[in-house]
Symmetry: C2
Subunit: 277 residues, 2 copies
């Protein structure tokens, strides 16, 4: 492989959920101290806070806000459920705007009480409904395909091909895709589809972690980079060949790591980032 190791943290971003036990003040302070340059803010970290002021606090510490996590969850069997989802996504766009986040990651949703094709149509309609607001707020929307293990309740968009199709169909410079190695590493079409979204100019985000062998838990057992079987550097090569120059976002959900000292964990993240991304 020709791709070089990363030698600094200038493109390293950490998601607040990765260090879930910390509030956002602590997270921002510690990330900055450790030389991390980017942060993706989860909406739960903003609960009850002045969002504009929080955005200023983040920037004052020298961190760049990469995105707001997360919007989506558009499908529902009822029209009122779908309208609620649209309203919530409009709020997320407003929050991103206040925070100064240039992008929202969309976990698109799925309702197990209806066929996947119906959920996909509702996702299309949901994104289309909030797109004018996103464009006027200059907030990008990144469709994140989720691993097929989450097709029941979290995402009817399971592959990058589907996310690319959806982004093309919506045909807006404000809609693109997020590539997360955890969700997509198994896909034989991954390289081709990464190249495709690069060509189309809608490769908006790149998320990293690892797939543990064995995986203990469907949701909360993501690994630190290098701990599992995902060819992370290979996928980074494909993403960079596709023209991506953005942040590498570390997004780890792990009840095991959350139970540990988060400062120690953050240093492990830095080391794993430099060795394995």
């Amino acid at each position: 492989m020709s791709t070089q190791r990363l030698h600094d943290l200038s493109r390293c971003c950490v998601h607040t959920i990765t260090t879930k036990p910390w509030d956002i003040d602590t997270a921002v302070q510690r990330y900055a101290q450790e030389g991390i340059k980017g942060i993706t803010v989860w909406r739960d970290a903003l609960a009850g806070r002045d969002i504009q002021q929080t955005g200023r606090m983040v920037r004052d510490q020298g961190l760049e806000i990469v995105s707001l996590c997360r919007g989506g969850f558009f499908p529902h069997t009822t029209a009122s459920g779908r309208q609620k989802a649209i309203d919530d996504n409009l709020r997320a766009i407003e929050e991103a705007s206040q925070l100064g986040a240039p992008m929202i990651v969309l976990v698109c949703g799925a309702d197990p009480a209806q066929p996947l094709e119906v959920s996909r149509q509702q996702i299309y309609e949901g994104i289309a409904a909030v797109l004018p607001q996103a464009a006027s707020a200059q907030v990008k929307l990144a469709i994140e395909p989720l691993h097929p293990v989450y097709a029941d309740t979290r995402s009817a968009i399971s592959t990058l091909a589907q996310a690319n199709d959806m982004a093309q169909l919506l045909g807006s410079p404000w809609v693109g895709v997020a590539v997360d190695v955890y969700h997509l590493w198994w896909d034989p079409a991954l390289q081709t589809e990464i190249a495709r979204c690069g060509r189309n100019g809608h490769l908006f985000a790149f998320h990293v972690c690892d797939w543990r062998v064995p995986t203990r838990h469907l949701l909360l057992d993501r690994g630190l980079m290098g701990e599992g079987c995902i060819p992370i550097r290979q996928i980074r090569e494909w993403v960079e060949d596709a023209g991506f120059t953005g942040f590498h976002e570390v997004e780890i959900f792990s009840d095991e790591y959350w139970a540990q000292d988060q400062q120690v964990f953050l240093r492990q993240i830095k080391q794993a980032y430099l060795q394995h991304v």
Copy 2:
């Protein structure tokens, strides 16, 4: 949907693993009593037994042996590991022949210590290595794509498209595919790929169960048909439109059901089969 409900058990097959607490004598006797017409035998059920005699016992009870489960697991980082796998698959072909099973289901394998493409190449080579023996024993080999959640250690073949590609590449009437709704229901290309393997004459098997919402365990929480979110009847329609006339095989791994009275469970299976397949 135009597909009719099933009105009898003439195409119902149960995998011995589904009623794991029963030995094969008990399973065969109870399946026959309940009017089930087919059985797929897992190799663990044959351990320490006279295989030819077991085959006669099954047929004497009026059951048709649909397949032997399972061969595969070809990928390994070492040549000796790969040779062991080939030897084991040759033994499986011999066992199928003795049992009178016309087919072996292949769970193809994956080694997390090497890239998926390498594992896929080794799967191709492994099947090619045992194919002459399968042909001369008149035992079909059915490549079963497994859900991407098993791409780390169980199968580098995650979609029906990949299984179809592999079967076409091997180009033998003795190699085809097994469609299991649990592994494939999420795939937007499923209908197209079912039609494709039908056209190619290599749609060999059809397995049913359901995807529970939520799923408690990665391996042992499969649901009874109707208990989850898989559009089983829709998929049966696609399979039958593709010309498939074989058995509908009930394959459920469930520590929950295994802990219950297996006779009660078997009656639940019959009911779920007639209502939801």
